[in-house]
Symmetry: C2
Subunit: 271 residues, 2 copies
C-alpha cells in the first residue's frame, strides 16, 4: 500500500497546524509520499520585493523573476522546513522538485488564445505534468528504503528550465504512476495506492454551509446525483472529476479529509 498525501497552502502557512499535520503524517505507517502547495508566502515576497504580478484574464504570468520567487519559496523555505520537521519526528523525508533525480518532467504550457484580447498569451514558466512524466522507478527506490519523498510544485522540462506546476495534479500524477508501477524483483507486484487530499473541511459536504454534513462515500452515480441537485460546492466539482479520473487510471481510493484529521476516519472516500 502506498499513500500519496496532498496538503495545501492553508497548512503550509500555519505553523501550529503544520506541526500537528507533520506529527500525524510521520506516524502514518507504510510507504508514503507528501505533496505540498505553496501558500501566500510567494505573493507576499513579491510584494515585499516591489514586484507587480502580471495578470491576464485573472491568471498570473510566470516570468523569470516570478519563477525565481516561487522556486525560492516552494522548493526552498516551505519544502526544507517541512523536511526538517518530518526528520525531527523520525520520518526520513527527502524534499524534491521534479528536477531532483529527474523525478518528474513537465512540459511547458504552450501559449493560449485569449478571446477577450484576441491574442495568444504566453503564461511563462508554467508546466503541465502527467502520470507518464513521473519517474516511478526512482520514487519506488526511495520508498523501499523507507525514505519519504516530499514534492513541491516546481518541476523541470529536462532542458535546464524549472517550471511552476499545479500541486493537485502532481499528487494525482504521482499516485497514478505508483499504482501502475510494478516492482521488477522478486516478481511483478503492484501496490494498492491511495490518494489523500487534505484541506480545511472534514470532507465533501452535502450542505456546504454545514460542516457536519460530510458525505462518507461517493461513487460515480452519487456524484452525478449530487451535481444534478447542485449539492457540491462549485470549486469541488473539478477536484472530484479529476479524482474519478485517477481511480479510472488505477488509484484504489481518493480520500478527501481535514488536514487535522489525517489519521482519523472522518472524510469522504471516492470509489
Amino acid at each position: 500500500m502506498i499513500k500519496v498525501v496532498k496538503i495545501g497552502g492553508n497548512v503550509v502557512d500555519n505553523p501550529s497546524l503544520l506541526r500537528e499535520f507533520v506529527r500525524d503524517f510521520a506516524a502514518m505507517p507504510g510507504m508514503k509520499v507528501l505533496v505540498h502547495g505553496g501558500g501566500v508566502m510567494a505573493s507576499q515576497m513579491q510584494k515585499e520585493m516591489g514586484m507587480v504580478p502580471k495578470m491576464v484574464e485573472g491568471r498570473r504570468i510566470t516570468d523569470e523573476e516570478t519563477l525565481k520567487v516561487v522556486t525560492m519559496v516552494y522548493a526552498g523555505w516551505c519544502n526544507k522546513n517541512i523536511v526538517a520537521l518530518l526528520q525531527a519526528e523520525g520520518c526520513n523525508a527527502i524534499g524534491l522538485t521534479g528536477a531532483d533525480g529527474n523525478a518528474i518532467k513537465a512540459s511547458r504550457r504552450p501559449p493560449v488564445h485569449v478571446e477577450s484580447i484576441g491574442e495568444d498569451v504566453d503564461y511563462g514558466y508554467v508546466g503541465d505534468v502527467t502520470a507518464d512524466s513521473v519517474n516511478a522507478v526512482f520514487i519506488y527506490s526511495l520508498l523501499e528504503k523507507g525514505i519519504v519523498p516530499v514534492f513541491n510544485a516546481i518541476n523541470h522540462d529536462g532542458q535546464g528550465n524549472l517550471l511552476n506546476t499545479n500541486a493537485d495534479t502532481i499528487a494525482s500524477s504521482v499516485a497514478i504512476a505508483m499504482a501502475k508501477y510494478k516492482n521488477r524483483s522478486p516478481r511483478s507486484v503492484t501496490h494498492e495506492t491511495d490518494l489523500i487530499y487534505c484541506f480545511e473541511k472534514d470532507g465533501v459536504l452535502y450542505d456546504k454551509d454545514d460542516d457536519s454534513s460530510v458525505i462518507p462515500e461517493i461513487d460515480r452515480e452519487k456524484f452525478a446525483q449530487l451535481k444534478a441537485e447542485g449539492r457540491v460546492a462549485d470549486g469541488m466539482i473539478p477536484k472530484l472529476a479529476n479524482s474519478f479520473k485517477a481511480i479510472d487510471s488505477g488509484v484504489a481510493r481518493v480520500i478527501v479529509k481535514h488536514a487535522r484529521n489525517l489519521l482519523g476516519t472522518t472524510g469522504t472516500t471516492l470509489i
Copy 2:
C-alpha cells in the same frame, strides 16, 4: 574513485560561467558530489526586502528572517537551478540540504564571547558540520545508482531546525566521510576520494600578483616554506591548513583549480 567538487558564489552568480562549469562537471567521469556556496543573491534579496543585516564584529547574525532568506536562495533557487542545468546535460543530479534523507546533521554553534563588547553573542541559526555528521551510507546509496548529490550550505539539527553552515567545511566533511566509508557488499572496499576546490584563480600562486605563477604541487614541507617566505596570500593559508587536515583524515588529494578548468590539468595538488 569519488570526487567532491566545491564551487563558490562567483560561479553560482555568473550564468555563463555556471553553464560552462555545469557542462564540464557533467562530463567528468565516475562518482561525484557537488557542493555549492551562496553568492551575493541572499544579501541582495535582504536589501530588496528592506531587511537590515545585523552584524557583530563583522560577522552576520542569522536570525529567523535571515535563515528564511538564505534557505530560499541557497536551497531554493541556486540549488534547483544547478540541478536542472545538470539534468539538461545528462547528469542525474539531486539537490540536497542536510535535512534531505538526513544527509548531514549540523550542531548549532553555541554563543561566543566577544571581547570588544564583553558579552556572549548568539550568532543565531548557524551550524557546524564534521565528517562524523555526514550520512555516508545514504550518499553512497545515491552514488552507486549513478545519482549525483548537489549540496548547498543549509543543514539541519535533527530537531526541526535548519542551520546555515560553511560550504567549504561541508565539502571537506563529505570528502572525509566518503574516503572512510566502506561498502558492505560484496566486501569492504574503500574509495579513493579527491576534494577539488574551484575558485577564480588557476591554483595556489607563488606570486599572488602573477596569475601564471601556479605552484603545481604542495606538500607539508613546501607549505611551511611558502608560509615562512610570506608567499601564500593570507586568505589561502587557512584553506590550505584545512586541506592538509582533510588529507590527514583520509582524503587522497586536495586540488585547487579554476572553475573554468575543471577537466584540465592546471591547478595545485596538495599531497
